[in-house]
């Protein structure tokens, strides 16, 4: 089933691209695009045991779009896609959608955002899937068979599908600012109380910190956020992401986003949009970005023993052809005349 992986991914991306252009999160619109593209037909033509394997492949491809780091609209599209594929698949009994433990928090957060924004069809579809027991609660999003690849293919993730970078605001959120303010106050009070005993209050050697660190930090982050909004409103006509959730994300999402983004961009650590003009630094020490050994270094392959032998050794005629073909034990008991020297040839189908 690996040979149709790329095509399946391209078809799903096509569907989601169309959905993104409509700027809506309604299931009606998604269903319209689905009917226009006649997407249910993607299951037709599979024979016998391929049905199950294909369902597994396409559900795995589609579940990627349901999870971060994609934007809210794409994630809604991913959810609708999963629902539609699950209902229209032809494997019976049906193949389930895999949900890993580490992604459960993201799914719950997504559901909460949808409820807050009153997108009833999103919530209905998600709860309908839970009701139909469409999920397998697993350890990993896909089956793992220690499939180490020499050259890891990094398919470029669609940038337009991604969510706007919001790590500064996630790092410096309200709780952090309050905590810092608290500590700042404590420090000031302690300093005042110890120094009141001595008369060294105005001594410059004890003023070691910035007085207005917390307000400054807050202002910088707010400026960044406004700059981002301005920049995006120049690019797009309408902000398609869910507004209220982007500023006050919990830090767990930040960590997840950071790790997934760094993986998506290969070994280069993700740089925010404001720094794109600078050289992207390649981070060899980052543990999460390292996936397979020797990424990028091309291996100098020595020609195999078989190749070297055939190059250097020359055996003439019949002896050579005999040496090359495999010995057939059955020939020992066959009549000379019954032997079929011409090898049978079957046309093999090449999956492009």
């Amino acid at each position: 089933m690996d040979f149709c992986g790329k095509q399946v991914k391209a078809d799903c991306e096509q569907l989601l691209k169309r959905f993104q252009r409509t700027q809506s999160v309604r299931f009606e619109i998604f269903a319209r695009i689905w009917r226009e593209m006649k997407f249910s037909q993607i299951f037709y033509g599979t024979v016998n045991h391929e049905k199950r394997k294909f369902s597994r492949l396409i559900l795995d491809v589609a579940s990627v779009f349901f999870l971060p780091p994609f934007s809210f609209q794409i994630r809604v599209g991913g959810l609708y896609l999963l629902y539609s594929l699950y209902q229209c698949q032809n494997a019976s009994p049906s193949e389930q959608i895999r949900l890993a433990l580490k992604d459960w928090a993201d799914v719950k957060m997504f559901e909460k955002d949808a409820i807050v924004a009153q997108h009833f069809d999103v919530v209905y579809i998600l709860q309908q899937l839970m009701f139909c027991k469409a999920f397998h609660f697993t350890a990993t999003p896909s089956l793992l068979t220690y499939n180490k690849k020499r050259k890891v293919e990094r398919s470029p993730m669609h940038e337009d599908f991604m969510e706007r970078v919001s790590r500064p605001q996630e790092l410096v959120n309200i709780e952090l600012l309050e905590e810092m303010d608290n500590i700042h106050q404590h420090y000031e009070n302690l300093k005042a109380s110890t120094l009141s005993l001595t008369s060294a209050q105005q001594d410059p050697s004890v003023s070691l910190i910035r007085k207005n660190l917390v307000p400054q930090l807050r202002n910088t982050v707010v400026d960044f956020y406004n700059w981002q909004k301005r920049k995006d409103s120049v690019d797009e006509e309408e902000d398609s992401s869910e507004g209220p959730s982007s500023q006050q994300e919990c830090s767990k999402r930040a960590g997840l986003l950071a790790s997934i983004k760094s993986k998506a961009y290969g070994q280069a650590a993700e740089v925010s949009k404001s720094r794109r003009h600078r050289q992207v630094e390649v981070d060899f020490t980052s543990n999460e970005a390292r996936s397979a050994p020797t990424l990028g270094r091309s291996r100098i392959t020595k020609p195999s023993l078989k190749a070297r032998t055939s190059e250097n050794l020359h055996i003439s005629g019949d002896l050579w052809t005999e040496a090359m073909t495999t010995t057939k034990i059955s020939r020992l008991a066959q009549l000379e005349s019954a032997r079929d020297d011409k090898p049978k040839q079957y046309k093999k189908f090449k999956w492009s």
Binding site: E28, S40, P93, Y124, L143, L144, T145, A254
Partner: protein, 383 residues
Amino acid sequence: MAASEQTTDANTNVPEYEYPDVNTKPFHIGSFKKEWLSRLKPSDYSYEEADEDAFHANFAREMGVSAETMAELKAVCSVDSLRCHPEDQQPDTEVVPSDPTLRTLVQRKERQDHRASLKKIKKNRHDLYADELERLTIGRKPETVTDMVPEGEIILTINVYYPAVFDKFNYIRPHMTLLMTGSHSLAELRDAVCCVSDLQVCGEFSNTPDVAPEFISKDHYKSAFFFFEGVFYNDMRFPECQDISSTTIEWAKSHNFPSYSQAKMEDTLLEDLKVKVGFPYLYCHQGDCEHLVIITDVRLAHKNDCLDKNLYPLLTHKHRVLTQKCAVCHVFIGRWYTTNDQFAPSDPCLFCDKCFRMLHYDAQGNKLGEFLAYPYVDRGAFN
């Protein structure tokens, strides 16, 4: 401290990738199960079909939607809105529709046309029997309730690979795929693995071909161990079993390796293991027959799975090997392996039972000529 929320709390019970799409970090299976069960409502993983009307009523109440909105929602999100063909024309789902626009379908159509153009279709044995085992067992319910796999039980998918002595495909295609529940012990996993080396008979039998061999290797060499995450799990059920891992452990100590520990196979449940998913581990039996073992999947039980506890460990996939036939008739599988044989065309040579006796013994059963004969168990004996 609130600041600690900034760094994700390393909860080692949540499986994380060590290398993306290759394997995870080690995690305790029993704790993983508890983590999932603590996050889900019992109705989420139960086998029962819940009532649909109750679901809609609950939804309407929780979201605060009116009855008309609810009805509209139901209509819009129903499966009917995904139908891509007119209601009265049922399409043939076995063929690719003409004029496909989706890239997957275009590719599939090419293959369909290619197949149609072939005069003779080669029957692929692997395709024919690919899902045979699964078809037999999926969705099977037991007769008694006590035999049912409990809700919320963990199911592991384990791939066992060929021993390294086999030549083709030994590193990719699993020999067999087993499904096991978390409450099975490692000893049960061991018993479920069938390897031909267990059936080998030692000894030369040219003088006494009719004497049935007294024992097979499985009965003679009972020791075995599993190696997971630095712990050797030995099979100590029978008095003949020896601790064959002790040699390795002593060698490792003398060579500055991190120290390994030992445990009993029959006392360890799969739930108690701390393992990596997707990472190769070792199963060794017969002293030197080593198999790679990879746990490919760990998940909660689902209503579509085979729910009969008695059928577990469940075989879902078995790789079928070409068997080697007798050198004389090419019909029966070889049972005798001869060397230094003056009658045989090659050294060594395989014979089926009938041809072997006809060639090497006379009507009274006397041995004719010089040869050495060994009973042979073909690799495909389990097909």
